[in-house]
């Protein structure tokens, strides 16, 4: 097939997006990483080790669960949940950290750093670092440290040092800034495990490739369960790793609609949101060109979302490309709508989703009734809600 999707190009560009926008000190380690990644991508020994870890440590394949009662309730398409919440550590993040940690080990790196928002990527990184006996430092915005304290405790239990970042807006973007500063300082022995499909090349492509197991499994499972491809995919988008992992294996299947769900926070019109694809503009931040939330002067705007994992002013460059080409649709869901999605899945299916994933659930509640019963939606249930119990209890006025 001549029109087979094959992005990015050799320099990490997805059309005008992506690329390598970093300070000079980071160019050599990024080149080293890219060379190692290209080498191991086609190394049967590496792939076998990764597959074994995904099966025995992560617990893959994750089920594709038919949400029969919820589908009936919504009265439209049949809804299937890709159960990434059942992975070890409770989210899709571990698919990527297992892969990057294996790379770090092969590259002889002794120290791991990561940024985290909700703490899911931090936990997934601390987990693989503990397993491999590597030093681990996780950067987390001070605001997020406060609202995701359970995950902070988990990371510390796992032996990681958690650094509360006090600069800027004290959320995920500032954690990323601080991780980049650490990397530039400890560049010789340190491997930076970026948690999403953003950052300088090769991270967007590499993280996508490690997460694409989600979509590959879902495709096979859907064919096995329904005999055909899904009509639509739905996933939440902060940086966009769970969405990219689900979407990527379906990009050439033109009949499969893709919906990325951004966090509209208090509402797009209020300006208090985290939806760069819905209401942002292209720019350069954290190593890549992509849609950003920035003002007319190019200064990055503070974001807002009830979910720490979506509270980020940028988005992976491949999503920017899929938006511009029209291959994927990007929509947004407010905090209140996400809460409705959270309660709906909890009460209808006995599954408590993460607040991030609740955005995808909320959009599914809008989408499913507009579709026919013979059509299928696959929704990525990217993480479980255990980490959000404090946030939810506080909203309900309950002291735990």
């Amino acid at each position: 097939m001549t029109n087979h999707y094959n992005m990015p190009d050799g320099r990490g560009h997805f059309g005008p997006y992506g690329g390598t926008f970093v300070a000079e000190t980071l160019i050599p380690p990024i080149q080293e990483l890219n060379a190692a990644y290209q080498q191991y991508l086609s190394d049967p020994g590496f792939i076998a080790e990764l597959d074994a870890d995904l099966q025995h440590y992560v617990g893959r394949p994750s089920p594709l669960y038919y949400a029969e009662r919820w589908s009936r309730e919504l009265g439209g398409a049949q809804i299937y949940l890709k159960r990434e919440d059942l992975n070890h550590t409770g989210s899709h993040k571990i698919n990527n950290t297992v892969g990057q940690a294996l790379l770090a080990k092969r590259m002889g790196k002794t120290r791991i750093i990561a940024e985290t928002g909700a703490g899911q990527h931090g936990v997934a990184t601390a987990t693989v670092a503990a397993r491999l006996g590597l030093e681990c430092v996780v950067y987390m915005g001070a605001v997020d440290v406060a609202r995701q304290s359970l995950n902070v405790y988990r990371m510390k239990l796992l032996g990681a040092t958690v650094v509360a970042v006090e600069s800027g807006s004290q959320t995920l973007k500032d954690a990323l800034n601080e991780a980049l500063r650490d990397w530039v300082t400890h560049v010789d022995n340190t491997f930076y495990i970026i948690g999403t499909v953003a950052g300088p090349h090769p991270y967007p492509a590499m993280v996508r490739d490690f997460q694409a197991i989600i979509g590959r499994e879902a495709k096979q499972q859907c064919l096995a369960a329904t005999g055909k491809l899904p009509a639509a995919l739905v996933a939440c988008v902060g940086g966009g790793s769970n969405a990219m992992g689900l979407f990527h294996p379906f990009i050439d299947d033109a009949a499969v609609a893709m919906y990325g769900v951004e966090a509209a926070g208090d509402g797009i019109a209020t300006g208090r949101h985290s939806a760069p694809l819905s209401a942002g503009r292209p720019g350069v931040l954290h190593g890549n060109r992509t849609y950003l939330m920035a003002d007319d002067d190019g200064e990055i705007i503070a974001t807002h979302s009830i979910s720490a994992g979506l509270d980020y002013p940028g988005v992976g460059p491949e999503h920017a490309w899929l938006k511009d080409t029209g291959r994927a649709h990007y929509v947004s869901i407010t905090d209140n709508e996400a809460l409705a999605g959270f309660y709906a899945l909890t009460r209808m299916e006995g599954i408590i989703p993460a607040l991030e994933s609740s955005h995808a659930m909320a959009y599914t509640m809008k989408l499913a009734p507009t579709m026919r019963p013979d059509q299928t939606i696959i929704v990525n249930l990217s993480g479980r809600g255990d980490k959000d119990m404090q946030t939810m209890a506080k909203r309900e006025g309950i002291a735990l």
Partner: protein, 271 residues
């Protein structure tokens, strides 16, 4: 020839090295900056790097991060920085002025609009920390067409091939980041810098400004002897930060530090 090339040629004739102070435009308030630039020239600055405030200064240590935050609290921007440069030029037509910052404000303005505005403000060089040569083709061309030097960073881990790439695409000078770390870091090793400068000099004829660890007259003297100039930023901004309630004192302390550096560097050359 550009003002930067002229300046380095002139200094080389005199057997002197360039003293290149850096301050962030609008820190601690917009009224402070232009008079400070003139005062730094009087104190012996050969070239000035004017920092463009950015919300996410990823390569900077805490001192310059806070400088950006103070400036942004006064609604500073790239456009207002260019206006300051223009104001500086009204009474100083000879001191080269380099804008240093991050790419996104330039992206937001648009490369061509920015290059035109920089030309109108008589900016001599532009250094964008997160714009390495591989992504800089369009921006560097637009700047060069307007007689503005695109300035690139070199790092301790930049190999010979990389240095030659900078030599080909850059002009004015190359900025050698003297340590692996952020601005204002404290782990500078002068022996490492000396060794690296040999490799750099073997691969480029562009002048080399050394920065990222220059704290006092002593390090300025030592490092300037290894290259063609030293850049000093965090140490100056620390003076602002320590005297936020007494800005005349901040200005005096900055002048004193630059004067001491100038003297140490010039005496160092004569010894």
């Amino acid at each position: 020839m550009s003002r930067l090339a002229d300046k380095f040629a002139q200094l080389a004739d005199q057997g002197r090295k360039a003293l290149i102070p850096f301050i962030t435009a609008g820190d601690p308030n917009p009224d402070f900056t232009v008079p400070m630039l003139h005062a730094m020239v009087k104190a012996g600055a050969d070239i000035i790097e004017l920092g463009v405030p950015f919300s996410d200064p990823m390569a900077d240590g805490p001192v310059i991060q806070r400088a950006s935050e103070r400036a942004l609290a006064h609604k500073m921007s790239l456009r207002k920085t260019l206006a300051m440069a223009m104001a500086f030029r009204r009474t100083d037509t000879t001191t080269p002025l380099v804008l240093m910052g991050y790419l996104n404000p330039i992206e937001a303005m648009g490369y061509a609009d920015f290059a035109n505005a920089a030309q109108r403000a008589e900016i001599d060089g532009v250094l964008s920390v997160d714009l390495p040569p591989e992504e800089s083709e369009d921006c560097a061309r637009l700047l060069k067409e307007r007689g503005i030097d695109p300035i690139f960073l070199l790092a301790p881990n930049s190999g010979a091939e990389r240095i030659r790439k900078m030599d080909a695409i850059g002009s004015g000078y190359l900025y050698y980041v003297s340590l692996k770390g952020v601005t204002g870091a404290g782990h500078l090793d002068t022996a490492d810098v000396a060794a690296k400068l040999k490799t750099i000099k073997a691969n480029t004829r562009l002048p080399i400004g050394i920065g990222f660890g220059v704290k006092d007259a002593g390090t300025a003297k030592t490092l300037s002897a290894l290259g063609d100039g030293v850049v000093i930023g965090s140490a100056l901004i620390s003076k602002i930060e320590a005297n936020l309630d007494d800005l005349p004192r901040a200005k005096t302390e900055i002048i004193e530090l630059l004067t001491a550096m100038r003297s140490a560097m010039d005496n160092g050359e004569r010894l």
